[in-house]
């Protein structure tokens, strides 16, 4: 049973869909049409043989809204499976970001030092710039980006959250 609380929580939801034209528009349209939040949304084909794609959605809502989101997703014809990873047990969640810094001298050294602490890799560099690649929990990426801001951050590109349940069971 659902507890009637107005307390909002962050949920990561994995959705397996037929990879057909318009399927992403259906999912996004559902969220915008019904006024649900999207914190992050990623999609890519994961099973080329059966033409299945996996969408990972991070959303925020009350328990009632989260239940609605899942029920509404399941109602879409091309949706095969919906799994609320947050509710259903332990899972791992990762995000990747590319972070560009501009600077010389002291700032460069400091940037490299922070990158070392966060285990970010340098994937491009010029005399006056770096591009770092960093992988981790979204919170870690937030922290990295915030620390880089005063040392010359000029551009950020984030992939959005991907997630998968721990253990041997597939979605």
């Amino acid at each position: 049973m659902i507890i009637e609380t107005k307390q909002e929580a962050r949920h990561t939801i994995a959705v397996l869909v037929d990879n057909e034209a318009g399927v992403l528009a259906r999912v996004i349209g559902l969220f915008s049409g019904r006024g649900y939040n999207i914190e992050s949304l990623t999609v890519a084909e994961v099973n080329p043989r059966n033409k299945l794609s996996r969408i990972t959605i991070v959303t925020i809502g009350t328990p009632m809204i989260i239940e609605q989101i899942k029920a509404q997703l399941r109602r879409l014809v091309p949706v095969r499976k919906v799994s609320d990873l947050t509710a259903e047990g332990p899972y791992v969640e990762r995000e990747l970001a590319l972070v560009k810094l501009k600077g010389t001298g002291e700032a460069r050294r400091e940037a490299l030092q922070i990158a070392g602490i966060f285990r970010a890799r340098v994937v491009d560099s010029t005399n006056e710039s770096f591009v770092f690649e960093i992988v981790g929990h979204s919170g870690k990426l937030d922290a990295f980006v915030n620390l880089m801001r005063p040392v010359g951050l000029v551009d950020v590109s984030r992939a959005g959250v991907v997630a998968i349940a721990r253990g041997s069971e597939p979605l």
């Binding site: 037929d18 349209g29 609605q68 029920a71 399941r74």
Partner: protein, 587 residues
């Protein structure tokens, strides 16, 4: 063309016949000409030419709602497709199974802003249950069969198939329905037996139980209706119905408390408020039913039986949700109830029924009778009495006349009542009546209309003549958009902004112009005679019934109020009762 191969238009017609479709409502245009050419060469599928694509979709809805089968329409690209959007939304909200076939510009022109191109699947994504753009003729039959499957399975709804012109002429393979395996769409139809056992436990112990049933019972089929009746009789529980559910229980049955909701009966709404067990069957706790959610039926345990999981806990949190087809679930409830060793003593319900009788004795639907001016409620009552025992179907438009019909016309069978509930679409009734009459050529089909609503799809009068459809339209002519006027009277200080039906046509002359019969009546003493005359005329008839222009529709639960704040008549302090901020927002 090798053997076994057909062109797209032939595939489409074959798919329609294999799906049991005998009639499509439609309107031609450039990109669907190949299909119209194929239609011309065959007899299996009848085409009913409408006069506006909105008419086609409401007619298909009328056809579907009165038969339980999928309604089909066929329109051209661009404006043809966009003209169906209101009807698609209407069918989505009222869970009506529709397959809408739209033409599209040829595949290689899509995206070019070609003549009469519209992004039809994009536009209709939010107002269909599902939609398809067919890009390969070899996928056409599969897609069509799946479209019918999706439209009629689970919670029914409208499905659109967009057909580029080149697909209609290309040659390809045809698959019959049994060769098609659907990928993913299989709604759950069997209810969880252990949850049902819990429901039985609540039913046994309930002192103030109530069935609250909706259109889902009717959509589930005749067996669901029969089982509900059995269950009501075997338990002795009272039952109320939503606007969409009227006819699911005979209006004449003792256990029936009348309609629930904003313009429902006093006894139904009070029972909703006071019950200790609410058994919701195939209804969705719509805001016109619940009123203020925070004050909704505060002391009841709630059971919700629905085939659509997204209807559960959407507006109101329930104690026991049961996902499944109403017919299956009611069958299991009946089985477990009948298997009880100790059935609860019926006399336990006596205090509850006494309370209900006390509410009933207020006769909340009473209205004044007059010799002169015609009361609108009288028209509905007289129509009901004049058609009792006849094979009659009733459609309405939207407004006060719709609510009066829901209150005063007693439906004893399902699928006899076609109204636009969820969307409240003015202009629904006349084309819907046309669709009903196509499905039931020998039955009496009535559209009860408002003088404002009828103007919205008037062109369909020509359709009725062309296809010899003797529908009877009764215009409850109060010279106002009455429902708007009522709100303005109660909430906006009687400032009747733009709600007067100015420059109305002479409806009898209009009838003449279209080849209908037109009658006019404005005296209460002449009403019954006019009704009898109209019903005896073999062709289509408009009866312009001039009624009291100031009558308001009661009972009324003001938007944003609770069930027990129901008004039986314009309260002295109506402004206060009705004028809450929450209420104003909800209008």
């Amino acid at each position: 063309m090798t053997q076994g191969q057909l062109n797209g238009s032939q595939i489409l017609l074959k798919a329609l016949t294999d799906q049991g479709v005998d009639v499509v409502f439609g309107y031609p245009g450039g990109v669907v000409l190949p299909l119209y050419d194929e239609l011309f060469k065959q007899e299996a599928v009848r085409h009913v030419l409408v006069r506006h694509e909105q008419g086609a979709i409401h007619a298909a809805e009328g056809y579907a709602r009165s038969t339980g089968r999928v309604g089909v329409l066929l329109v051209t690209s661009g404006p043809g497709a966009t003209n169906t959007v209101t009807g698609l939304t209407d069918a989505l909200l009222d869970s009506t199974p529709i397959v809408c076939l739209t033409g599209q510009v040829p595949t290689d022109l899509i995206g070019n802003d070609a003549f009469q191109e519209a992004d039809t699947t994009g536009i209709t994504r939010a107002c269909t249950k599902h939609n398809y753009l067919v890009k390969d003729v070899n996928r056409l039959s599969y897609t069509l069969h799946e479209a019918f499957h999706v439209a009629r399975s689970g919670r029914p709804g409208p499905v659109l198939v967009d057909l580029p012109k080149d697909i209609l002429t290309a040659v390809g393979e045809y698959l019959s329905p049994h060769e098609v395996q659907h990928k993913s769409y299989y709604p759950q139809t069997k209810g969880d037996p252990s949850a049902i056992a819990e429901v039985i436990h609540l039913m046994v112990n309930a002192k103030k139980p109530l069935f609250y049933c909706g259109g889902g019972v009717i959509n589930s089929g005749l067996s669901a209706v029969e089982k509900l009746m059995q269950l009501v009789h075997n338990t002795g529980f009272p039952v109320t119905l939503t606007l969409m559910g009227l006819g699911a229980v005979p209006a004449s049955d003792y256990h029936y408390l009348g309609m629930v909701g904003m313009h429902g009966t006093y006894e139904a709404n009070m029972a909703m408020h006071d019950c200790d067990l609410m058994l919701c069957v195939g209804a969705r706790f719509d805001d016109r039913v619940t009123g203020k959610v925070s004050a909704f039926s505060p002391n009841s345990q709630k059971v919700h039986i629905d085939i659509d999981p997204s209807s559960i806990n959407k507006n109101v949190v329930v104690d026991i949700p049961i996902i499944g087809d109403v017919s299956n679930v009611l069958e299991e409830i009946l089985r477990q109830w009948e298997a009880l060793i100790h059935k609860p003593n019926r006399s336990l319900l006596t205090p509850w029924w006494n309370q209900i009788e006390a509410w009933r004795s207020l006769q909340c639907l009473r209205f004044e009778t007059t010799d002169n001016v015609i009361k609108p409620q009288r028209v509905i009552r007289s129509l009901y009495e004049a058609t009792r025992g006849r094979d009659v179907y009733v459609c309405t438009e939207v407004g006060q006349h719709q609510m009066w019909t829901a209150q005063h016309f007693g439906f004893d069978q399902p699928r006899r009542w076609m109204t636009s509930g969820g969307l409240g679409t003015m202009g629904f009734g006349l084309p819907a009546a046309i669709g009903v009459q196509v499905a039931h050529p020998h039955s009496l089909v009535i559209d009860i209309a408002g003088e404002a609503s009828i103007m919205m799809n008037l062109q369909e009068m020509a359709t009725a003549i062309q296809h010899r459809l003797p529908v009877k339209v009764f215009i409850i002519n109060n010279r106002y958009m009455g429902m708007v006027r009522q709100w303005q009277e109660l909430l906006y200080g009687g400032r009747y902004s733009e709600s007067y039906s100015a420059t109305l046509p002479d409806f009898t002359k209009l009838a003449d112009a279209f080849g209908w019969t037109g009658l006019h009546v404005d005296k209460a003493t002449a009403l019954d005679e006019a009704i009898r005359t109209a019903l005896d005329i073999p062709g289509p008839v408009i009866v312009d019934v001039v009624v009291d222009s100031s009558e308001n529709c009661f009972p009324m639960i003001p938007a944003g109020a609770a069930h027990n704040e129901i008004l039986l008549e314009p309260a002295k302090d109506a402004g206060k009762a009705l004028g809450s901020e929450e209420g104003m927002v909800l209008i």
